[in-house]
């Protein structure tokens, strides 16, 4: 069997399937599994990439029946049961598609060219480099307007990623960098959080939404609700009311849509909201019982509402994929999927978060401790837990962000220099 994608859904499926004793091939573009909930902490110079990105092979080291390969999937040929990759075709008997989602620009002009996304690990590193470079450049600016622009960050999108990054950024600028850039006026450092809707954190209860706005404002984030961005340009965002904001850094976290996988849906118009692929109640592709779609890419409706594109849904769907295929292998009817809501949470900053589990709501310090312990628990590997804990402690106690590096890998010379006709398809 072949699993496409080593995100939360794909990894859970691959590990479960390997546990059945069948041969599994797991394909991903990257050689690592990314713990996306903490991605914003890489972008805000708090964590190193290796603390949230774990080599897939290391994760599945003990599972002998599970092979891992790095490849970019280009197309699925359902009729011939083939996956076409940049490394050549791969045949499957059962296929689990977990290729995830990507940043959605919602058709706004200039997002791709001028805004920094925050969805993948390279995005987080690019954003860290960009932001720190702007602060360094600001040191040389003699013109006050340009200096202020360089020190202004506009975060577009008031979902969990937006508020967590805006909160972390306000702390980075005010508590860490301001101590070291003594010659800069702190008031010139601005973080704006722009949200088109009337409230932040759409999935949370209204009291927690209001709490998040208040707390972010108290921490120096300029929260602007009902503010729709109509275009992003170099050093500037344009708003729906015709006004504009000069910002040297524009972070686009307004939302995601499904990564398209050609061949998966017969016609493009069959796709659901944000490009999600309609599946049966058992997560199978209609008419193709050998193909399952799970994670962000699957359009699953439960109690009349589509399930959100979040990690807990992906993990539960990944585990369910194993149950479906196990039933198929036994010749039984596959079970229907049902998501068990374990709650949602988002952190705002030092000592502060919001947590909602059913009707149970937490905020402030107890929510923050809950968030902290849960995320520590969920991080893969004991080493990473220890390292993340140390970095968090350093940040907490010494107001230091240890990963304030402007660095990118040098050119990979001759990556494909080995000659001869390759196995590429």
């Amino acid at each position: 069997m072949v699993v496409l994608g080593a995100g939360f859904a794909g990894l859970a499926a691959a590990q479960g399937l390997a546990g059945l004793g069948v041969d599994v091939l797991l394909l991903d573009r990257h050689n690592y599994h990314l713990f996306t909930p903490l991605l914003y902490q890489v972008a805000s110079a708090l964590l190193d990439p290796s603390q949230i990105a774990h080599p897939v092979r290391a994760t599945v080291r003990r599972r002998r029946s599970l092979r891992v390969r790095v490849a970019t999937v280009r197309r699925v040929d359902l009729d011939h049961r083939l996956v076409e990759t940049d490394r050549g075709p791969v045949a499957y008997d059962h296929l689990v598609v977990a290729t995830g989602s990507t940043t959605d620009d919602f058709g706004v002009a200039g997002v791709d060219a001028h805004a920094q996304p925050l969805k993948e690990l390279p995005d987080a590193l690019a954003l860290r480099n960009h932001l720190l470079s702007q602060v360094e450049s600001a040191q040389w600016e003699t013109d006050a307007t340009r200096r202020r622009t360089r020190l202004t960050v506009a975060v577009v999108g008031g979902g969990p990623t937006g508020i967590e990054y805006a909160g972390a950024l306000a702390e980075l600028l005010r508590l860490v960098l301001a101590r070291e850039f003594g010659h800069l006026d702190q008031r010139e450092m601005r973080v704006l959080l722009l949200e088109a809707g009337d409230h932040l954190l759409g999935a949370f209860a209204p009291p927690l939404q209001r709490y998040a706005v208040d707390q972010l404002r108290r921490r120096g984030v300029e929260v602007r609700l009902g503010t729709r961005v109509t275009a992003v340009e170099g050093g500037r965002v344009r708003l729906h009311d015709g006004s504009e904001i000069e910002a040297g850094t524009v972070v686009w976290v307004a939302g995601v849509r499904v990564s398209p996988l050609p061949g998966l849906t017969g016609a493009g118009d069959a796709a659901g909201a944000r490009g999600a692929v309609p599946v049966t109640a058992t997560l199978q592709l209609p008419g193709r019982p050998e193909v399952l779609v799970i994670g962000d890419g699957a359009a699953v409706v439960q109690d009349g509402r589509p399930l959100p594109m979040i990690a807990p849904v992906a993990i539960q769907e990944g585990r369910h994929a194993t149950r479906v295929i196990a039933a198929q292998l036994r010749g039984e009817e596959p079970p229907a999927f049902r998501y068990t809501d374990k709650g949602i949470m988002a952190t705002i900053g030092r000592h502060d978060a919001v947590v909602e589990v059913g009707r149970w709501r937490l905020r402030g310090f107890p929510a923050w401790v809950t968030w902290l312990l849960l995320h520590l628990m969920l991080i893969i590997s004991f080493r990473n837990r220890l390292l993340v804990l140390i970095n968090w402690a350093v940040n907490y106690l010494f107001y230091d962000r240890p990963v304030r590096l402007i660095v990118r890998a040098g050119p990979d010379r001759d990556r494909e220099a080995v000659e001869g006709p390759g196995p590429r398809g």
Copy 2:
């Protein structure tokens, strides 16, 4: 006063000068100080960049009279006492030049285009990405020759960096990756160490040199002495005897030369060995008492021999720079510099190193413990010490290299988008 370069020499000088209470401006291309002795551990997937690269501003946080700026130095104008940078001109009264060294290709064709250097942090990340990509690509190769080529690494240069990287690489391939790439034949993974001279580790005593060769061979490194590389091509190195070695990764650590700084020497021909700038016994530029040259860039002869381009020399010269300028400020005669040799060491791998302090020689386990403790001690910041120790322990106990990530920062969109005439000169 202005210090150029935040390496070992420049940082020591800047900190010393700031301690005198005078205003110091420290310029560097990067926003971090790099602990180069452990750079090969980033390239071999053992350490994260932030564990050996420390933000310069964090290092000098408490020194109020020391300002740090990121800029690329283009030229020195000695007559007008100006440093020309990509951010505009900077005037100085006293200037300390510590701009370091760069990889020397010794005129060998193809080094720049086809070999991976290992001198700066981006080099180490590029090498890690390249090497891991080759191993991943090898998984897809059906042709045995091409697969072997992808799995062959040729390390050129038998100095400390060469032997430390070759040793670390042999362990990465044989002890870590071989466990995870079960379908690859271990014997196809080869590490070659090519040295033009008759022995490795030129600066060490002959018994330690021979010991290093034996131990590397025992660990699976193919050490070839008296082997001069005449050209590097895509996937291949050519040797002096006309033969060639197919290698998907070529690492060039054959030596370094001084980074040229235009304007520093009146005529290019005034430079000494490997481009070093001749200085007085007090490390001053002849005829320019307000300019000191320290670190790799200074040609200092002691007891008839030029001092080597190593960190201990750089640090001692950096400290001496403060003494010279302090004497000048008091109107006294500046003292002459004298290097105190504290010894040299290099690690070969698990349980193994060579240490030489005067006539005192250590090898094997006690040398390894000495190397380990000393390097832990020298790393900047308590956090980094702790993190490095954890990574070393994980590697030692679980045969795991936690930073096996193929990742590079995404594009920095609009880094210089802020409009208007900049302060650039």
